[in-house]
């Protein structure tokens, strides 16, 4: 994929945040581009919220620097930064109504001639809350509060909108609806969005690019597709959904590719990941469960492995098969959609699985 040259909006350089001996963020460097939807993804305690709060100005790096829109942020307090935040708890002012909440930040700008009212109306319209301006915060549903928080931040026309797990308090259906809406809103206003989330599907569905973080370090920064299909290590692969890991022995290593021998899949030639570190003569390959396909009846494929179904789990639209392959120490997970009757395969059946060698990716441990 050719990378388009884009202007950077946020420059994070070697940022560390320590609390005593504990490093919440450890030498993180990152560039977030103008107008992109960027997600910081990781488990709780990985440093993603710390990083977001440092961009907002609620926390300061122990070392390193942060610049927003080309301007260094060191020494600039939160109230004078070109960023606005949507808080996890929404932080709607309970003593003000919806309109007053949205107009809160505009009051200080002392806008002339109905400009304030016009901007509040516009922001409420953007989040589909037109007509609810006089409601009190206590009279709103969770989804509506979320929209008020969004409108209140957007009305300030920030260079960057920061979102701290904004959807985590909503139920599943509303969350999925808001994911689509947020993405649409971001494309409409063209503001840089930085989202913090621990939900990999949320990050995959909404982002232009994702940074996956573990233990205060940034493990990988890439597009959703690349992160999902070519995770740099087992940790990233594991965090973004199911992955079958296969041990392999390196036969040949060149600049950009690897040739490996595996017990179940035979000899495979694969791209060498950038961060690949040779661990003796071994390597780890991974293949996503949906990249393995059950071969029905006499169908054949160029690449296939044979095995036996040992478990079957039904999930409505898909079925999860656990298939034992002779030679592999762990059985493979296979995900099949239920249109051809994968949900009817009895446990104990011998089956063959088709795969594309391209789907087997090498990664660091």
């Amino acid at each position: 994929m050719p990378e388009q040259p884009q202007r950077s909006m946020i420059e994070i350089k070697n940022v560390t945040r320590s609390y005593g001996a504990f490093k919440a963020l450890d030498d993180a460097s990152l560039t977030i581009r103008e107008g992109e939807f960027f997600s910081l993804l990781g488990p709780s305690g990985c440093g993603k919220t710390t990083l977001l709060r440092m961009i907002a100005g609620f926390d300061n790096p122990t070392s390193g620097s942060i610049a927003v829109g080309g301007q260094p942020m060191e020494g600039i307090p939160a109230n004078r930064r070109p960023t606005n935040m949507v808080f996890q708890s929404y932080a709607i002012f309970p003593h003000l109504n919806v309109e007053q909440n949205v107009a809160y930040g505009l009051k200080r700008l002392k806008l002339q001639g109905g400009e304030e009212k016009r901007r509040v109306e516009e922001a409420l319209a953007q989040v589909s809350l037109t007509g609810l301006g006089k409601r009190l915060a206590t009279e709103l549903s969770g989804g509506q509060r979320q929209r008020v928080a969004l409108a209140r931040a957007l009305v300030m026309r920030p260079k960057v909108l920061l979102l701290d797990e904004p959807l985590s308090a909503l139920d599943k259906k509303l969350r999925e609806q808001m994911q689509v809406e947020l993405r649409r809103l971001q494309q409409a206003v063209g503001i840089t969005f930085v989202l913090v989330t621990h939900d990999q599907y949320e990050a995959l569905a909404m982002s232009d690019r994702i940074a996956v973080m573990f233990g205060g370090k940034i493990a990988q920064v890439a597009s959703p597709k690349e992160i999902y299909q070519r995770p740099v290590n087992r940790q990233v692969a594991d965090f973004l959904g199911g992955m079958n890991f296969v041990k392999a022995e390196i036969v040949e290593e060149s600049g950009a590719s690897l040739v490996v021998d595996t017990l179940g899949f035979g000899r495979i030639k694969t791209d060498k990941p950038k961060a690949f570190v040779r661990n003796g003569g071994g390597a780890t390959l991974g293949i996503r469960p949906e990249r393995l396909r059950v071969l029905w009846d006499n169908a054949t494929a160029k690449f296939e492995v044979a095995g036996k179904v040992v478990e079957r789990h039904y999930f409505g639209e898909i079925t999860h098969l656990i298939v034992e392959i002779p030679g592999l120490e762990k059985p493979l997970s296979v995900t099949e959609t239920n249109d051809f009757g994968a949900d009817d395969i009895p446990v104990g059946t011998s089956i063959r699985l088709a795969y594309d060698p391209e789907a087997l990716v090498a990664m660091a441990d």
Binding site: A56, G57, F58, P77, A78, N79, R80, T83, N84, M85, F87, Q88, S89, Y90, A91, I92, F93, P94, H95, Y104, G105, R108, L109, A137, T138, L140, S141, G142, R145, Q146, R152, A153, M156, A169, L170
Partner: protein, 274 residues
């Protein structure tokens, strides 16, 4: 839960509950009843209705002095106790530090210490410090007994104050002072007013500490105590007592309403609870 257990079982338990309330409030009811009786002695049967005892009250200069003194002491003690209470309650609800619970316990302790002991100890300390007894020393004593009440009201108002509200204000461009004025203060104002009212009521009714620590100036309870020696003054005392009772009841009711409003504001916010 079965439908039956939602109702109080009839018979014995209801009778017990009724007696319980009677025991609590019957003595208090006698006060207003005898205060509008024409006979100067509090005895049944009642002899007739009069408001004479109430009409006499404003014509008693010593009582007006005492009322003025009580007002001064009450206002000073409630303001001081509430200011100190705000600082302590904010620290206890907002920050986590070692000894937080112990400090909270120590601040609440005067609530259960025998008041006579507290009063004598304070008297000793003030005399040692060379302070002459006056309304000022009474104020100091009342601050001590009011702080636990102030703390109770204020911590319930501050508890659960979502810190991100202040952060949101800063994020929207507001300065630290502006945030305090536009967000923090309006949110906790009901709790602060509630604390002021509670402290004022406590101070207005307090006798023992005022008795030990005042010099020549009497507060209302001390004035009442002085009047009890004269049988002919009793109806006036009853009338005054009734007024104090009504005032206390009203102040405490308003205070409780405000405290609940403050607690609702700070606690039921945020999508996490929606």
């Amino acid at each position: 839960m079965t439908a039956r257990s939602r109702f109080l079982p009839g018979g014995w338990l209801s009778a017990y509950a009724f007696l319980y309330i009677v025991f609590l409030y019957l003595p208090v009811i006698f006060l207003p009843i005898f205060s509008i009786n024409t006979a100067p002695t509090p005895k049944f049967p009642l002899t007739g209705f009069t408001l004479q005892w109430y009409e006499d009250l404003p014509r008693t200069p010593a009582l007006l002095d005492a009322a003025w003194n009580s007002l001064i002491v009450g206002v000073s003690a409630s303001v001081l106790a509430t200011v100190l209470g705000i600082l302590a309650a904010r620290s206890i609800t907002r920050y986590r530090y070692p000894g937080r619970r112990a400090i909270n316990g120590l601040i609440m302790a005067p609530l259960v210490l025998p008041e006579v002991i507290v009063a004598i100890s304070m008297l000793l300390v003030m005399l040692q410090l060379g302070l002459s007894l006056s309304l000022f020393t009474v104020v100091l004593g009342h601050v001590l007994v009011c702080i636990p009440y102030s703390m109770t009201v204020l911590t319930s108002g501050f508890e659960g104050f979502d810190r991100s509200l202040e952060e949101a204000s800063a994020d929207l461009g507001e300065s630290a002072f502006g945030t305090f004025r536009r967000v923090t203060l309006p949110m906790v104002a009901p709790a602060i007013i509630s604390s002021l009212l509670v402290c004022f009521t406590i101070s207005l009714d307090e006798f023992i500490i005022a008795f030990f620590l005042t010099g020549t100036e009497a507060t209302l309870p001390i004035y009442i105590w002085g009047q009890l020696r004269f049988a002919s003054k009793l109806p006036g005392v009853l009338a005054l007592g009734t007024l104090l009772l009504v005032a206390s009841f009203l102040l405490m009711t308003i205070a409780e309403i405000l405290r609940r409003r403050a607690a609702r504001r700070t606690q039921n916010e945020g999508g996490l609870y929606a």
